[in-house]
Amino acid sequence: MGRVGALIARHPIPAFFVVFAVFPFVVPYKALATQVLIYGLFALGFNLLYGYTGLLSFGHAAFFGLGAYGTGVTLARLGVTSVWAGLAAGLVLAAAGGALIGYLCLRRRGIYFAMLSLAFAQLLYFVGFHLSWITGGDDGLRGIPVLPVGLAGVRVSIETPLAFYYFVLVVVGAAVAVLKRILDSPFGAVLQAIRENTDRAAACGYDVTRVKLLSFVFSGAFAGLAGGLNALYLQVVPIDTLYWTTSGQVVMMALLGGAGTFFGPFVGAGVFLILEDVLSVFTESWPLVVGAIFMAFVRFLPRGIWGTVVGLEIMGGLDGPPKPPERSHTPRGTRGVARP
């Protein structure tokens, strides 16, 4: 695992595509693989805000839901026939939601911030519930068509589960690559500085509130894209998409996998959904078991599954003992924290 881990660390995006190219043949059925990709992207977007910027949002269902309704309404109600336009509409709506909700939440810190984010998401839930002429209300938004996708000038059908999976893989993979790029950029470095020490980041000359707001917009956009994909996948947007339990799930996924690591949220989403899938065969109270596992993780493996693997294998851990320098060090070429 050591060498594999190091390889993934060095080439995260190719590794991502390789792993997920074979993934649908490993899990019990294709649809589960698709769900892992979608929720993985959702958790990744959440983690941009929580794991990298240090802002715990309890209302990420808002962005997932805005993305889902944005895409769903565009395709089912407005008669747009381009899947890309539908996804773009969801993404833009969620990013705009991120800007507005972020602007309002960032006026407070800590637990008040978290409570505000939860409150705004619940607000949106009730708006969605009552605006049934657009959203379908309690019945959900139905009638989202399965349209062929224009890919490089060719219209490709995505009707079979496997074709749909690979379509999602292309979109999610591109989003993951973009997110990686953002995190490696100077902006990404500022995000981490803010997470580590907000006051000092401000003292260095960074407009902390503005950077946090942008992080909100990005986070909302990624979550919204995931929501849009979920709308295409389900062909319906259930009102639960906006419900606070969705926010709770994404927090659990990110923490289970390892917040602050790049792929942790994906691993967390995978484990969560597979657990749900397996356990719900035996008992209706599967959340009880998942909850117990989650608590055990928080207590005993606070860095999550991927965080622990990466911490042990690659970099001696976030809080582990200091690693002796590998060689006489020259700062040139020192790279960012290689948390894959």
């Binding site: 950029s185 500022v190 003292a203 000359g205 960074y206 924290v337």
Partner: protein, 246 residues
């Protein structure tokens, strides 16, 4: 000497406590100034006011002729006033190099989403220079949390220095250091002071007397005396405050 910073009637109270009271203070470009005073004299609060960390209750602050009173800290920082912290304040889980680089990078834009942070040549060069200047080149890849106390104090200065401030405020840079570390850090400060304006709050009298061009003495939030080290040493009121109690 061109005047760089001036405060006029600068005051700050916390409830009924007057931490800084009616301070008229000026420092010239290129000067190495020390601010001394007993505990609770208002030195740190005075620094926080200048750096924009706290808004003053009243009074004005001018920097390079421009009124900067009430500007937020990041804006003050961008104008060229940067402060190091009395209680070490670094980015613990980032490496030493990343700590310095993110500070060096702050003079470029924060809103660069697409380049690699490690690919900014000028930023990297400045970070490397700073790293060498504060003597932490050998520790570049260590996490800041794992440094010794003395090293953290130097990193503390390095983060401030990497932003290339015109006015550097050092709040007790040698706090908690061994005598040898203190000596080394004071040499470092003298080197830094070549070509930039530095104001130091420091308790170690011997060193303050040695490195400062001028010294300002604060007492109960007010300026008690100001002058060359020799003036201050000879000042009767300063002796009273320090030796005879307030």
């Amino acid at each position: 000497m061109m005047e760089l910073l001036r405060t006029a009637g600068l005051s700050r109270s916390f409830g009924s406590l007057q931490a800084v009271l009616d301070v008229d203070f000026a420092v010239g470009a290129g000067e190495l100034r020390s601010i001394i005073g007993p505990n609770g004299a208002g030195k740190s609060t005075f620094f926080r006011l200048i750096a924009g960390e706290l808004p003053p209750s009243s009074g004005r602050i001018r920097f390079k002729g421009r009124d900067i009173t009430g500007l937020p800290q990041h804006a003050v920082s961008r104008l060229g006033i940067v402060k190091s912290y009395q209680i070490t304040s670094v980015f613990p889980h980032l490496t030493v190099f990343e700590n310095i680089r993110v500070a060096a990078q702050s003079r470029a834009t924060a809103y660069n989403f697409w380049q690699k942070a490690s690919a900014l040549g000028a930023v990297r060069d400045r970070a490397e220079r700073t790293l060498v200047a504060v003597g932490l080149a050998a520790k570049a890849s260590h996490r800041a949390a794992h440094l010794s106390h003395g090293e953290k104090r130097n990193l503390e200065i390095g983060i401030a220095l990497a932003t290339e401030p015109e006015l550097l405020l050092l709040d007790e840079p040698t706090a908690g250091m061994s005598p040898e570390e203190t000596e080394a850090t004071m040499r470092l400060i003298s080197e830094i002071a070549g070509g930039r304006t530095v104001i130091v709050v420091e308790h170690n009298m011997k060193l303050v007397m040695k490195i400062s061009q001028r010294i300002t003495v604060l007492h109960q939030g007010q300026i008690l005396a100001e002058g060359t080290p020799a003036d201050i040493r000879a000042n009767h009121r300063v002796q009273q405050v320090y030796l005879g109690g307030a």
